[in-house]
């Protein structure tokens, strides 16, 4: 979120490029306070609330990455549960079979997620739009079926993550919490930095017009692949965290399509194609969950209906609406160019242009 300013002088032409405004510096300050609050939370927040926040942060990280794929690269995946499940099982494998400390195993899970994403992309990128969505779902089903049929992983009834269970409770909860917080911050920071980079320019160009983007030299396939792999790694990471969190890994739960359902609701309601959208969406989702989850299915029905209403009548989502009205972004991405001085030649052109326009 730092204001990136670059001033260059070539000849007597001077210019600078800004991304953030002064308001953003204030926002950055507030942001740091919020992050510090979250870091310190386990020390004063109490165990039940800390545990809840693990869910909150996990979903925030997941939806942020899902939004990166959908909102910029135009890839709609409904198979993210495949990576989440594989992350959970990878964690179990590293922690209980290879005896790596669970909090280190989480990192391996992320790698496995990225590795799975590579061949998956080669397959599903052959499909377009909606069919790509179902293709990702099939892959998730494949992974689930394989895992559920291997005796060593406990088959359909699943396995306990013994290494995590045997940890001291407070250490486990705090560690899980910080990992979840870390995953969220990584997801947001990676997304933000990616969007601020050259690749981010490509992603925004693809979002607006993919043919024109390719004609400007953007490698469509590779740019899409980046987001797919990042999302795969991130989802596996969160899956691993959840395995430590609930101590138990079972195919039906780890590979559950509901994971993706949450991501869809959160992102669509919050606002696709903005970093702020998934944050707002996750907060709304949690408020809803805390108030209506006791009504069981009703809570899913309400979420589903909400997503339907937003998709049809306000497709930009809540933050999209806010941004349209205020043009304010907590995470500024727009590069603003200020030309300070001009060459004589360019002033001439400017004068001509002025004449014509007038």
């Amino acid at each position: 979120m730092k204001a990136a300013t670059s001033a260059t002088a070539s000849g007597d032409r001077q210019f600078s490029v800004h991304v953030a405004s002064r308001v953003n510096q204030v926002v950055l300050g507030v942001g740091i306070i919020i992050v510090v609050f979250f870091i310190l939370f386990p020390f004063f927040g109490g165990t039940p609330m800390t545990r809840r926040l693990v869910d909150f942060l996990s979903l925030l990280a997941l939806s942020q990455l899902w939004n990166l794929m959908l909102g910029y690269a135009g890839l709609i995946s409904v198979g993210q549960q495949g990576y989440i499940g594989m992350g959970a099982y990878t964690l179990w494998l590293f922690a209980d079979v290879l005896h790596v400390h669970p909090f280190v195993g989480v990192i391996f899970a992320a790698f496995v997620g990225a590795i799975i994403a590579l061949p998956s992309a080669a397959l599903v990128f052959k499909l377009k739009g909606g069919y790509l969505a179902i293709g990702t779902w099939v892959l998730a089903e494949v992974l689930k079926t394989v895992v559920a049929n291997i005796k060593q992983t406990g088959g359909g009834s699943g396995v306990t993550v013994v290494a995590a269970r045997d940890m001291e409770v407070s250490v486990r909860i705090q560690g899980t919490y910080w990992w979840a917080l870390g995953a969220t911050l990584i997801a947001i920071v990676v997304t933000y930095l990616l969007l601020r980079s050259r690749t981010g320019l490509a992603l925004k160009a693809i979002r607006d017009n993919d043919l024109a983007a390719e004609s400007c030299g953007v490698n469509l396939w590779r740019t899409r692949l980046y987001t797919f792999v990042i999302a795969g790694a991130g989802c596996a990471l969160v899956g691993a965290i959840s395995a430590i969190h609930v101590l138990f890994v079972q195919p039906a739960a780890a590979f559950n399509i509901n994971w993706t359902a949450y991501l869809v609701f959160i992102t669509v309601i919050g606002g696709v194609g903005t970093i702020e959208g998934p944050i707002i969406g996750t907060i709304i989702y949690f408020v809803l969950r805390e108030t209506t989850a006791k009504y069981g299915e009703w809570y899913f029905i309400v979420l589903g209906l909400l997503a339907i209403v937003v998709t049809v009548w306000s497709p930009r989502g809540i933050y999209g609406y806010i941004a349209q009205k205020t043009n304010f972004y907590v995470f500024p991405l727009q590069r603003k160019l200020r030309i300070v001085g001009r060459t004589a030649a360019s002033q001439e052109i400017a004068a001509e242009g002025g004449e014509v326009a007038g």
Partner: protein, 241 residues
């Protein structure tokens, strides 16, 4: 000398309709070639085949002597083929400056910081310097056309394909555009220009090729070609003026 651009026996049909029929055209280094022909003659499709937006059914595209028929779109751009679209396709959610940055950082493969100067130069040259921070989606038609040009230039093309870039502009705007394109040609960029506004073409190009029914009808000196009976007949359906 190697041709800047050459298509050999290109063929393309959509459905059952043959749109490009054995089309061979070559473009010399540094020349400005005008392409004319009635609507639906296959001019834009020819551009699409050169840039890879559409895949040819047969034939070859050579760029600086190399066969690029099998290359993907972004690779062709990086080789040095820049194009503008007849109906502008701005990245509407990005600013004018960012649109140009995409071309510089991806087409020309520059590092972002290093490309700023290049972009500013292009923005000034194309007269967009007052609108650098405006969202491209809110530009007027003239500015959209300018942005098409700017974005293509940012990719540092050695061959620039212009698709009816003067269409829909006022006479004064057309004059301004011709001046801009003339400056580009002076820097050594090869220009291939599809245009219906004939006097704009005549003011700039050294050679005109006429396309009809996806085939080359004739080519040669601009004024001679445009005043030939044959061309007038195909172009306006007879001798009007």
């Amino acid at each position: 000398m190697t041709k800047a651009l050459e298509t050999q026996g290109l063929r393309k049909s959509f459905g059952g309709v043959l749109v490009i029929d054995d089309l061979s055209i070559s473009v010399d280094q540094g020349e400005a070639l005008g392409i004319v022909g009635p609507n639906g003659a296959g001019k834009t499709t020819w551009f699409n085949l050169i840039t890879g937006a559409v895949h040819a059914d047969g034939g070859k595209v050579l760029f600086q002597g190399k066969d690029i028929t099998g290359l993907s779109r972004h690779e062709r751009c990086r080789q040095g083929i820049g194009r503008t679209f007849q109906i502008p396709k701005p990245f509407s959610g990005m600013t004018v400056f960012e649109n140009v940055l995409v071309g510089a950082t991806h087409g020309r493969r520059m590092r972002e910081r290093a490309s700023y100067g290049h972009c500013v130069e292009i923005l000034e040259m194309t007269g967009l310097h007052d609108k650098v921070n405006v969202l491209a989606g809110s530009l007027t038609l003239l500015d959209r056309k300018r942005l098409e040009l700017a974005r293509a230039l940012a990719t540092d093309p050695s061959v620039l394909l212009l698709d009816e870039i003067a269409g829909g502009l006022t006479e004064a705007e057309v004059q301004e555009l011709i001046e801009e394109i003339r400056k580009l040609q002076a820097t050594g960029i090869t220009i291939v220009w599809i245009e219906h506004i004939v006097h704009a073409l005549l003011a700039l190009v050294n050679r005109i090729t006429v396309i009809q029914f996806g085939r080359k009808l004739c080519e040669g000196d601009p004024r001679e070609v445009m005043s030939s009976q044959e061309v007038q007949a195909c172009y306006m359906g007879g001798t009007l003026a």
